[in-house]
Symmetry: C2
Subunit: 198 residues, 2 copies
């Protein structure tokens, strides 16, 4: 199995974290996240969005979008619940993450830490505000809970952890979200946990 | 069951389309999409993102994010396949839609048609280019296929149809995507199909 990915990408890290916890081995192929000119050649036949992570299964079939990959490997394991409502809640948080967290926190982090770009002030403020709103929504929800869905660690926690734990690299002050900090410690204590840099 | 929604929202329409095709009845509660000041009061206890669609099941439990709602009601019916790879592909296209289609096509449509806002020229061009790229990726993928996953109509088609079929209201020329036009005709021919204005 081949994972086309980028070491710094939180979306790719989510997949590595779950596959690590499941003990599934694979080959990592690093793609450039700045110079994307080879994407059509490398990913054109595999992923219409030309983004990482893109996975190629052992039988050659491709699968893209971190959330879909997490579901494919997680379903049927302890990391995806069986109850239909809990399953829908896992997806709710995964869609929330891709709509409210990733486009703000991951993009600011990409600009600042990876691409070393200076966004326009309006552009930066819009993403900083929206990212802070997402973190505040998560902080409020996790208060009094151990994990986001059903009081057990699921792929919803993996999806939310991916960029939240590196939000400081996008200019966010995680100290403002003590309940999220505690939740992140819980995630880091799970069996088979690996760090983004591992 | 109560669906907090907005008649013009493609995300809400996706839910109405599936529930209509499944023959599930519910009460519609319209929220304002311009003046959102009542959102914390109306949705605060139901949806951390304070967005529509937000559904309240008959037993009072809330569920948000159109993709999660589609999965909750679609799974176990003809609209979600049984094969694990096909299921992951359904999710792949649903995440693609929320990341590549919705933030560009839906937002441009909202600015132009609903809020009557004039975006900055750079802002408009960025979303027009990214939206056109998403449509081109879909056009290329659907060529030679009947539907997006497994050659049958699924909630992936519902999710992608939601904003694609009204992309002209965001300034996109759908005539550039003849294969998508044919696919949309196929979607509109499905049993129980309802229009966004119904």
């Amino acid at each position: 199995m081949i994972l086309y990915e980028a070491a710094d990408s939180g979306n790719c890290y989510k997949v590595r974290l779950l596959l690590g916890q499941l003990g599934i081995s694979y080959e990592r192929v690093e793609l450039d996240v700045i110079d994307r000119s080879d994407r059509p050649q490398r990913l054109g036949a595999l992923n219409p969005a030309l983004r990482v992570p893109t996975l190629v299964l052992d039988d050659g079939r491709p699968l893209a979008e971190s959330g879909a990959i997490l579901w494919y490997f997680g379903d049927g394991t302890q990391y995806v619940p069986e109850d239909p409502y809990d399953r829908a809640q896992v997806l709710q948080w995964m869609f929330f993450e891709q709509y409210c967290v990733e486009p703000n926190i991951a993009v600011l982090r990409f600009w600042k830490k990876i691409a070393k770009l200076t966004p326009g002030p309006g552009e930066e403020k819009a993403k900083a505000d929206a990212g802070a709103e997402a973190l505040a929504a998560m902080e409020s929800y996790i208060t009094g809970k151990e994990f986001f869905v059903g009081e057990v660690y699921t792929i919803a926690d993996i999806a939310l952890y991916g960029y939240t734990h590196v939000a400081d690299e996008g200019g966010f002050d995680l100290g403002l979200y003590p309940e999220l900090m505690t939740w992140m410690t819980r995630v880091e204590g799970q069996d088979g946990f690996v760090r983004i840099g591992d």
